[in-house]
């Protein structure tokens, strides 16, 4: 098998179709492991994984933790409050401290775009971006792709409608990059206040109506809308947002009959998605969670096994 040629996973940007395929194929194998009774392997035995979360996230952190443990790594969680005045100072200082403990992989989440890349310059180990501001969340895009590929058998030419707060979403950016790299057709559906500047040049078709945007879609991917953005600042109210952009059974009818419904979680039921749809037969939201562990196992294995210890040693003191 061709090995994964990157030292870090900072984003989907820079990954080729082949890189992504390597990770998804590995993840398929990891799903099998996770479904066995004996889930623990020795693939990463003796290696240390540190989860460094400057932004609280129970779900993503647990997923990374479980992935590391299933591969036999020693996993440590560090949650650093994000309230300190100078976040960045904490970031670099914490990174240097952790670096001195000689971890093999750092999983980082931070509220600022570029934080994972900055950290990768300062530490000697592999860095996995678990979400940096509004920039990227590569493992989420990979787990979404894995979910779609397993359900539809392919990614090429699949029509994916990404709906909701694209502007603030690192999930949307990573998904747009990944799906385009794999030859899928990407649409975004949102009010203009929730779309980034230049969206039409980001490799997507832009829609402002759910009915049009969902027409013929194979996948409907809903995004979370944060509460503070619902009341007048970006959209007038929850009620109005749900009316036009919330996914309910009626709006879902526009998509293909066997369209998948996805959500990166945590969901705001009744805001961007109705319970009926979230829990309905087309929903693969729970499957996404399962694929999350598998994808993270694949990423960690790819980063840690494709580079020998010499390659890692070069980074020391850099």
């Amino acid at each position: 098998m061709v090995s994964f040629p990157h030292r870090h996973l900072l984003g989907i940007k820079g990954l080729t179709e082949q890189d992504i395929t390597i990770l998804l194929d590995k993840a398929d194998e990891a799903v099998k492991i996770s479904r066995q009774r004996e889930k623990k392997t020795s693939t990463l035995r003796g290696l240390t994984q540190i989860n460094l979360f400057f932004e609280a996230s129970t779900r993503t952190q647990s997923s990374f933790e479980l992935a590391g443990k299933r591969l036999g790594a020693d996993v440590m969680n560090m949650s650093v409050g994000n309230s300190s005045v100078k976040k960045g100072e904490t970031l670099i200082d914490t990174a240097m401290t952790l670096n001195a403990m000689r971890p093999d992989v750092l999983v980082v989440r931070h509220s600022s775009a570029g934080a994972a890349a900055l950290l990768a310059q300062k530490v000697a180990c592999a860095v996995v971006n678990a979400g940096d501001g509004q920039h990227e969340h590569p493992t989420q895009a990979l787990l979404d792709a894995l979910t779609i590929r397993r359900a539809k058998g392919k990614l090429a030419r699949i029509i994916v409608a990404i709906c909701g707060d694209v502007l603030h979403s690192r999930v949307a950016r990573s998904n747009i990059l990944l799906l385009n790299a794999m030859g899928a057709r990407v649409r975004v559906v949102a009010p203009s206040t929730l779309l980034p500047s230049g969206i039409a040049q980001m490799g997507v078709e832009v829609f402002h109506s759910m009915e049009e945007g969902l027409k013929g879609a194979d996948v409907v991917m809903m995004l979370r809308l944060q509460r503070e953005r619902m009341s007048g600042s970006f959209v007038p109210s929850v009620r109005e947002y749900f009316h036009f952009y919330g996914l309910d059974a009626e709006k879902l009818k526009a998509a293909k009959e066997d369209a998948l419904v996805m959500h990166p979680g945590p969901m705001n039921r009744g805001v961007e998605i109705s319970s009926e749809v979230a829990d309905g037969p087309q929903s693969v939201i729970e499957s996404q969670v399962e694929m999350g562990v598998a994808v993270r196992m694949a990423v960690m294995e790819a980063l840690l096994l494709s580079h020998n210890s010499d390659a890692r040693a070069e980074g020391w003191g850099a």
Binding site: K13, K87, G88, S112, A113, G114, A117, E136, M202
Partner: protein, 430 residues
């Protein structure tokens, strides 16, 4: 210096007289220019004068940088008046205007006097303080514009800050007019640009960074220009970055506003793509714009719509720059590289050398009423001696500024100041 000095066989470019000819500059023992031009070549050399053969070099009036941030008082670890002046001298800058964003803010005559005295004692070049337009730069109450002017403040500004209250601005401009004071403001709408950390557009969107739209500059600029026209005050747009702003300047002047404008050397040399993967040395205010914008601004400089070039020298330390992009401070140093970066526009045939030197020396001296920017007989011998083609590489190790946040690290330049004279005294020599 005790003896007089003659620079001979030098190409003299003096925009104050539209003069570009090879000749001599004769400087008296008192540091004043006695003669400068082709005619001076044949005059005798004064007794005891030292003579420097400057064949192949260009002499211009010493450069005048109208926008420089210094850390003294309050942040001397970033830059002192002394270190800024050494950086200036090595970049051919013989006078600079210091912004009032210090700690404490330069909003009181005692502080203006402190800066003038410290500069007189320690600085190699002429330092002219700009005073805060409002107390504490808070944008609420005007400072003692008259007394500050008498104390030596050459402009009134909000420095890095904007001024939101149009009533305060109108009164300050009306009052400033009586003292012929220049009000220099950076236009930045606090609401439209609230989270904006770079130019709004596709590139910012991919990086996941909030953008500042061009309207965040244009709207307050147009507002300021209206008030300048209304009050008749001298208004200086301290840093413009988009061609729409240049259009606004043209229109306002045609309506009779006494308005001038500046652009930073960064915005003439770089564009938003230079940010690459979150390089914070390229985080500036206003943000770096697109390449099309940069090209249009070079044209606007060439045709004189934009009056002057500033370095916008803004020393920042590791603790304010080695951060995630959105959390990092704005600003870049520039005193040492302004001339060389500007000469790129000459080498690329984009801006005539005469206009470039005008924008770097003569014009800023005129706008702010400084005794500089000319090589006329009787003027102070502030002179920059330039080798237009001298190749050099910017390296962190040789930067004289106390802070190293240059966006031109490892840049290759052709042309630099080989010697700088302030009142006839050599303050920099390669």
């Amino acid at each position: 210096m005790n003896t007089s000095l003659v620079l001979k066989n030098v190409r003299i470019i003096d925009p104050s007289r539209n003069l570009d000819e090879t000749g001599s500059i004769v400087i008296g023992a008192d540091g004043v220019i006695l003669a400068a031009g082709a005619g001076a070549q044949n005059q005798g050399v004064p007794d005891g004068a030292s003579v420097r053969d400057c064949a192949g070099l260009v002499a211009t009036p010493g450069l005048v940088d109208a926008r420089v941030f210094v850390g003294e008082p309050g942040a001397e670890h970033r830059e002192t008046l002394e270190s800024a002046s050494r950086a200036a001298a090595s970049g051919g800058v013989t006078s600079f205007i210091m912004m009032p964003d210090t700690d404490p803010v330069l909003d009181d005559i005692a502080l203006i006097e402190f800066v003038k005295k410290t500069a007189r004692d320690k600085a190699l070049v002429n330092v002219h303080p700009a005073a805060a337009l409002t107390r504490g730069l808070k944008g609420e109450e005007m400072t003692e514009i008259g007394m500050l002017t008498r104390a030596g403040a050459v402009a009134f500004t909000q420095g890095r800050h904007g001024l939101a209250d149009t009533q305060v601005l109108r009164r300050a401009m009306t009052y400033a007019r009586e003292f012929d004071a220049v009000i220099a403001l950076e236009a930045r709408d606090p609401y439209l640009a609230v989270n904006g950390v770079m130019n709004e557009g596709l590139f910012a969107s991919w990086l996941g960074l909030s953008g500042a739209p061009r309207e965040a500059e244009l709207i307050p600029l147009e507002r300021d220009l209206r008030i300048a026209t209304l009050t008749g005050a001298k208004y200086h747009a301290a840093k413009i970055s988009v061609p729409e702003s240049a259009d606004a300047m043209r229109l306002a002047r045609s309506r009779g506003a006494k308005a001038t404008s500046a652009i930073s050397i960064n915005h003439l040399s770089l564009n938003e793509n230079d940010i690459g993967e979150y390089r914070t040395f390229f985080k500036l205010s206003p943000p770096l714009r697109t390449e099309d914008d940069r090209q249009a601004m070079v044209d606007a400089l060439a045709d004189g719509t934009i009056d002057i070039i500033v370095s916008s020298h803004d020393p920042q330390d590791v603790d304010t720059k080695r951060l995630p992009f959105a959390d990092a401070a704005d600003g870049a140093i520039g005193l040492e590289t302004m001339l060389s970066a500007a000469l790129r526009l000459h080498h690329a045939d984009r801006v005539p050398l005469m206009r470039l030197i005008d924008a770097l020396s003569t014009r800023p001296a005129q706008i702010f009423g400084l005794d500089a920017g000319t090589l006329k007989p009787g003027a102070k011998a502030d002179i920059t001696l330039i080798d237009l083609d001298e190749p050099w590489l910017v390296s962190k190790e040789t930067i004289l500024s106390r802070s190293k946040n240059t966006p031109f690290e490892d840049a290759r330049f052709s042309g630099r100041a080989v010697a700088t004279y302030v009142a006839g005294r050599l303050v920099h020599s390669l």
